[in-house]
């Protein structure tokens, strides 16, 4: 009975420094805030932005480090530190900063000020970052739950709006189901491959030969895994929660769900299909094909018939998720060469777009956060031309108009599809995007081309606070910059191709 030695894994502190920064920042934030009175104005938000920016700076260092030393798997094969992960981390931290800024004035307007929401944002970001870098199904699940639980609470965080409570509860119940599916999928895959390690699964599947029929457990596992992640990214037919939750949740939270939530779940899906399941592409590709087609079509068509802008944007986010699915479908044909950078590019561009769009929506819905009917946008072009112009840029980008980032995103995905001769999916997606364009046109018509009605002048005037102004201006600048000069972002997404396996 000698003294048992526990082999602690070596820890690459630099690589997880962004996580540590955010985690400790969140703790300090909560502790200090608990001990002091409510801080004035936007200081919680500024603190969060500082944390996010610090995380981004460290992530840049790690990116540089990977350039020199190559990507690596750390902490006992739990996390992959590669360009892919850093691309996602930078995106997530950026989204965290933007959403915190747009939340600051929202909380003041709704009289909800306090540090909790920021702490939950950070918590969700940590979960998302772990998801995107995980090299183990269990770690992936931990990240997923950290993200999801924070988002459930965030969705319900408007204490005086029943819609918000309903949204949180709905999201929680359905999300719980999805997590169960996902976990069961992991169990089944573990049962058939003997490992939960993502690159380990890939290795096993590339050597193991299944005689007919005895891979049923593996296939069931893959199917459940896809169901779980498809719920999180909200693709048809796992989308039913999206419109209600997006509409009910506080608008900044909606933008956070649509950006960070999608980012993390798509990154996880990308990593699973490229690292663990590339040899089973023939099995999962048809599933993804169906999900992609259904999402672009159903999302676009249902978006057009809505009258509530948040609901419209929820359905349009389903359609965008369908576009990203197209990138994943093309991975099923020829590996990650075209599909992976295209999907990452789309994720990054869409995240910024959706935050910009929802920030404008949040300003236009005015106090109470329930004036998100399309009529609220009437006359915005006259009242707040700059805000309306920025919204126009976001909407045109979502419609895929050239010289905006949205076009680059769609182009990348269509190129990936065409490179793998998935012409049908490319054409269906493009035609569906025309249907979706009608929806963006409806909002633009309301802003620019509809005359104000008699009751309109009694409405509360729209204020554009400084912090939200920064978010809108920054997102619009990014949208146009990437539209005109996209090379750098495309190269960064291309760099993500060297996954640590």
């Amino acid at each position: 009975m000698g003294a048992q030695t526990i082999n602690y894994p070596a820890i690459d502190w630099l690589a997880i420094a962004p996580l540590i920064i955010l985690l400790s920042g969140m703790m300090i934030n909560l502790v200090i805030a608990a001990l002091t009175r409510v801080w004035p104005r936007a200081w919680y938000a500024i603190g969060t932005v500082v944390l996010a920016v610090a995380a981004i700076i460290v992530e840049m260092f790690i990116w540089h480090d990977i350039n020199q030393d190559g990507s690596r798997i750390i902490i006992n094969n739990a996390l992959s530190i590669d360009h892919f992960a850093m691309f996602c981390w930078i995106g997530i931290a950026g989204a965290l900063a933007l959403v915190s800024l747009s939340t600051a004035e929202y909380l003041r307007r709704e009289d909800l000020e306090g540090p909790e929401m920021y702490a939950l944002y950070i918590c969700a970001a940590i979960g998302a970052m772990i998801m995107t870098a995980s090299n183990d199904m269990i770690v992936l699940f931990l990240g997923l739950e950290t993200l999801s639980i924070a988002l459930y609470v965030l969705a319900a965080s408007h204490r005086r709006r029943p819609d918000s409570q309903e949204s949180g509860l709905k999201y929680f119940i359905l999300g719980g189901f999805a997590s169960a599916f996902f976990l069961y999928g992991i169990a089944l895959i573990y049962g058939s491959t003997g490992t939960t390690n993502i690159s380990g699964i890939g290795n096993v599947l590339s050597t193991e030969v299944f005689v007919n029929g005895d891979d049923a457990m593996l296939l069931a596992g893959i199917a459940l895994l896809i169901v779980g992640l498809a719920f999180k990214v909200a693709v048809v037919p796992f989308h039913f929660w999206t419109p209600d939750v997006y509409q009910g949740a506080p608008t900044p939270v909606t933008s956070y769900m649509a950006s960070v939530g999608k980012f993390a779940a798509f990154a996880a899906l990308l990593r699973v299909v490229t690292t663990a399941l590339p040899t089973r592409a023939e099995d999962w590709r048809p599933v993804i094909w169906v999900l992609a087609i259904l999402s672009v079509v159903v999302g676009s068509v249902l978006a057009v018939v809505q009258t509530d802008v948040k609901r419209m944007l929820a359905y349009s986010s389903i359609s965008h998720a369908g576009f990203m699915m197209i990138g994943i479908e093309s991975i099923g044909h020829s590996g990650d060469v075209e599909g992976l950078p295209a999907t990452l590019l789309y994720l990054m561009i869409y995240s910024v777009l959706v935050i910009g769009t929802f920030t404008v929506v949040s300003l236009v819905t005015r106090t109470g956060d329930d004036g998100s009917d399309i009529g609220s946008f009437r006359g915005l072009g006259k009242e707040r031309p700059a805000l309306a112009l920025a919204m126009t840029v976001f909407l045109l980008a979502q419609a895929g108009m050239p010289l905006t980032s949205g076009f680059i995103a769609k182009f990348g995905v269509i190129q990936a599809a065409a490179a793998n001769e998935s012409y049908a999916i490319a054409i269906v997606a493009m035609v569906a995007s025309v249907i979706a364009a009608l929806l963006y046109l409806r909002i633009m018509i309301s802003m620019w081309l509809s005359d104000e009605e008699s009751g309109d002048d009694k409405r509360e005037a729209i204020k554009v606070p400084f912090s939200a102004g920064i978010v809108v201006a920054g997102a619009a600048f990014f949208t146009l910059l990437v539209g005109v000069w996209p090379g750098w972002l495309i190269d960064a997404a291309q760099a993500a191709l060297q996954l640590a396996k």
Binding site: L396, F407, Q415, V431, A437, L438, I445, G487, I490
Partner: protein, 522 residues
């Protein structure tokens, strides 16, 4: 014809084509940023920008080397290197006059058409539109072309939707969505073309010249790709039965929007069919010519018959556009150098004459606040100069000898008579129908005794006359002396035809008319 030989570096010391695109774009931003309190400065900025652009266009025309088929003044830069997309612009005989026309039309529209409200935004959209149109005509990179082709939709949408008439939002949305459906197919076509070019070129290429010189597509692939492109252009032209957006868009658009729409925007379709359809996929174009000829002829007759029945003067002109563009498509798919050259020339003629017609109809509306033919009567008595201007423009649109419309239509008909005889025969009746509906409309509007409402119809003012003067000048000059124009168009058209012959073994009939025709015309 090698790659290098087909590109002639211009003699100008700066990239004039890039300037043609950037100057209006910058002007648009400046207009938008100008002060709200000084509207006259805003207008001055817009006007100077558009005049400067027009002058650049004329300068380019003056330094254009006649008799060369290839692209001139080209400039080429890497843009998105990962995808091998470049900023590649150039001009040849086919796009030359379209660019010049664009440069001339915009300042005239800015001077001649009053938006009545929100002038600043109106001017900004107009200049952005000019940049987009210029870019579409000048791009030699498929990606770049698509970008401009699509971006044009946005300013036009807002121009129709913001400054149009009662049904403007319906018309603008219809215009936007119709065109976008076409573009959806074209985008997939462009991407596939670029990726398939890799098989022959060794790298993905969006460069029109590289693809045309180096890439060979399998017969069936080429046909699919051709149709992906052709749908987008057929909507834009618009070809029957995809034309239904046009009457709405034209009727509801403000006068300036209609002039630009008819003058240059529709030409994006016919230009695209020639440049990206016939030139890039000659086999597929030749194979499908009967479809296009038939649709073109149906469009000619349909447009004419529909125009005859219109009560609204502006809608009448809109339907006449459908007919005229049918002629251009007929010429393009007749595959003879006269017909193709005539088609290119007719693009300009239609732009000038229909643009002027829309201006005149707009002036009538300004005075009478109606466009209904039945409300107008006897205008010739009260406004003889106005009537005379209308007459000249209308005769040009009918295609009366001595005016520009005749030269183009004559070349198209005589060229297509050899290779598409029966289509040409039917199309020829379209010329007669054009005379019918336009003269009948003229008779109802201008002849007779003016009733009370029409007796106060104001005569042409100086500003309006000055705006119309360039149109009438071009109409008469090109009608009497079309040679300078044809000399510049012809080599490029012949180069396309030679390419068709080389790729498919098709033999175009020997041009018999052109040489003798040019001198004797007028």
């Amino acid at each position: 014809m090698s790659l290098l030989a087909s590109e002639t570096q211009g003699s100008l010391p700066f990239p004039i084509l890039t300037a043609l695109i950037l100057v209006p774009a910058i002007g648009s931003v400046l207009t938008l940023m100008s002060s709200n309190r000084r509207p006259e400065i805003t207008k001055l900025i817009a006007l100077l920008t558009s005049v400067f652009t027009g002058a650049l266009g004329l300068w380019m025309l003056a330094s254009f080397k006649t008799g060369e088929a290839g692209y001139q003044f080209t400039s080429k830069h890497q843009w998105i290197s990962t995808w091998n997309i470049g900023w590649h612009v150039g001009v040849d005989g086919i796009s030359l006059f379209l660019v010049v026309l664009t440069g001339i039309l915009f300042p005239l529209v800015i001077i001649g058409c009053d938006p009545h409200h929100d002038e600043k935004r109106y001017l900004a959209w107009l200049l952005l539109l000019e940049a987009g149109v210029m870019g579409s005509f000048l791009s030699l990179d498929l990606f770049l072309f698509f970008l401009f082709f699509e971006i044009v939709l946005v300013p036009m949408y807002f121009l129709i939707g913001g400054w149009g008439y009662d049904q403007r939002i319906y018309a603008a949305t219809k215009f936007f969505l119709y065109t976008m459906v076409g573009s959806a197919f074209m985008l997939v076509g462009i991407v596939t073309t670029a990726l398939l070019a890799k098989n022959d070129l060794g790298h993905v290429s969006f460069d029109l010249v590289e693809i045309a010189e180096g890439a060979n597509f399998a017969t069936s692939t080429g046909r699919w790709l051709f149709f992906a492109f052709a749908i987008a252009f057929a909507v834009k032209v618009p070809l029957f039965p995809l034309h239904t957006w046009l009457p709405d868009a034209h009727t509801q658009a403000p006068t300036g929007g209609s002039v630009i729409l008819a003058g240059v925007l529709l030409k994006l379709g016919t230009y695209g069919l020639l440049r990206f359809g016939v030139y890039l996929f000659p086999e597929a174009a030749l194979w499908s010519r009967e479809i296009f000829l038939t649709l073109a002829v149906i469009g000619i007759i349909w447009g004419a018959v529909a125009a005859t029945m219109q009560k609204d003067l502006k809608r009448l002109v809109a339907y006449s556009s459908v007919a005229h563009l049918g002629f251009i498509v007929l010429g393009t798919f007749a595959f003879t150098s006269e017909a193709m050259g005539g088609g290119v020339m007719q693009m300009i003629n239609h732009g000038v004459s229909t643009g002027a017609l829309f201006l005149l109809v707009g002036m009538i509306y300004e005075r009478r606040h109606t466009r209904l033919i039945s409300e107008l009567k006897g205008l010739q008595k009260v406004a003889p100069i106005f009537a005379a201007a209308f007459m000249v423009v209308m005769l040009s649109s009918i295609g009366v000898p001595g005016l520009n419309g005749f030269v183009g239509e004559f070349l198209i008909l005589i060229g297509s008579f050899n290779t598409a005889r029966w289509w040409a025969v039917v199309a020829a009746t379209g010329v007669i129908l054009a005379a019918l509906y336009l003269l009948w409309a003229y008779q109802r509007v201008f002849h007779g005794e003016p009733d009370e409402a029409n007796s106060t119809f104001r005569e042409l003012r100086l500003r309006e006359g000055l705006v119309l003067l360039p149109f009438i000048g071009i109409i008469i000059f090109c009608g009497v002396y079309p040679k300078p124009m044809l000399d510049r168009i012809e080599p490029s058209v012949k180069a396309i035809l030679e390419r068709v012959e080389e790729k498919t073994g098709y033999v175009a009939p020997h041009p018999m008319v052109l040489e003798s025709h040019e001198g004797g015309e007028g």
